[in-house]
Amino acid sequence: MAAARRTAQRLRLNGATRSSVFRTSIRCNSSFSPAFSAERVSIEQPVPTTSPRLVALHARVGAPIPVDTFLRALNDNTSPVVSQLGTNSHLSHLGSSILGYYVSEYIITKYPRLPSSILKAALDAFIGVKALKSLAREWGVELFQKDVEVEKQIGRVLFGRVDDRIVNPEREKGQQYADVAAATFVRAVIGGIALHQDRNAARAFIEAHVLSRKLDVLQLFAFTEPNRELSHLCKREGMEAPVSRLVAETGRKSRSPVFVVGVYSGADKLGEGQASSMKEAEFRAAANALKGYYLWEQKDVVLPSQAGPDYKGSFIDKGEVIVNTLNTSNLPLSSEYYVKRLPRKHQK
């Protein structure tokens, strides 16, 4: 009994987990059983929360969490001291969901008509691995170095050697595990804020660090068939079919021609494009018309998470412009291709 009490005194759990872990799992009225607590006992020496690098980083990031949790957030699953200092994977899972929620809420209410591929790219631009890695770098976070002792590296993102081909076969080309570790750290910080404070504090932190970044959504678009897409859009909206007309031109048959093409639906001009060939100008005009539609912005928007009692709901768009295309010019002409794919009874 006394031994158990002494062991319990030596336990060093961080923050919110201190009270809840044991009391829910052990029903007896006496103190903790030695066998159970022996598993959870951490190292004898105090957790090194006084390292100057760690303390300075904690102050710089300004997250409203204690230094203990911050140190845990720096510890990846593969860290060499994970058994002593804890891992950031749970915090990271929570932080990842919170990030995803608040950032998608912001983008979707701000640009309700964005196509899904652009929306995904915009989300990636704010909270993808690359984005969070650059955010961590801007906080001055350093990464683990193999040749230096671990004790001297408290305050860096600690991770071990990982074969990325096995752990993450669907990773982006050129992505290192170090990037993923840095992104996990950022998510873990946000998860820590949500646990220690509340989701409003997490939201304020996300707004200050993530949503304050600049993304020109215009630059995410890459059109392949804007004319086709625009005509489907006009049909869906009940507008007249789009027609391209030459608005102005100069320099035809010279070294530097300029054609200005406008795409009209009836008498309304939807978009305009300028290029050195008529085809390209028409392409740009249709693309600009589509951008004008997709990038429609809701001004002074109230986010659902901050809705008051008189919240009337946000604008919800009809959805994407579905353009079913079957590019018949790419169909293979050899019969062999089709013979292989016949049902068995027709083969040979």
């Binding site: 300075a56 591929s117 650059s134 770098r137 630059q219 678009f221 890459a222 790419n330």
Partner: protein, 208 residues
Amino acid sequence: MNCNGHITAVISWILQLFPWSTPVSTTPSSSNTRRPGGSCTCPEHLHRNCTQIWTPGKSIYEQEKSVKMPVQALKKVATSQNGVGSYILQLRKLDFGYCDWAGASRGMNEFLLRNLKQFAADHPSVEITVTPRPAHHPIIRGTYINGREKVICVRNGTPSEILEKCKLLRDQSGVKLKKIKARNVVQSTNSSVRGIWSPFHAGKLHQI
């Protein structure tokens, strides 16, 4: 929406050309019906804009990938605007080098004893280290978040002068000093508000 009519017309055209093959079903593509045979017969790499009816065994993500929308997305990362939301002090670390013997280091030694503690307390986000540099002039080495370092030699400096140098390092951003030419004085990430003049939109006088 008449896309189903369009695709049915195309499919019937294919079937006329290749009557022995049934690459796609003739049922409307909006209904999620199973295709006979259960697997798609168009390899992804041949048909860039091919539609696929839901095939058993494929995840929703894979199906979504195969319905290629004409508008594709480019990969970009949002750039930071330090100060718009939160402000991160760009100075990461200050390393003070002093010498016990050299006369030029007297002011630095006094600074370390008297002023450094207050300066460190005022700037909690700066990591401060003190390193002996025997038989050398005293220096302050500032390390910035962009990885660059700036070293200032404070030989024969008084404590107040050294404090001024610390503040100088604190106020810098770590980028290499460069001459700002007169034409680049206004720098912005936002495009021009009123647009750039174009002869094609200027009015009758300049119409080409």
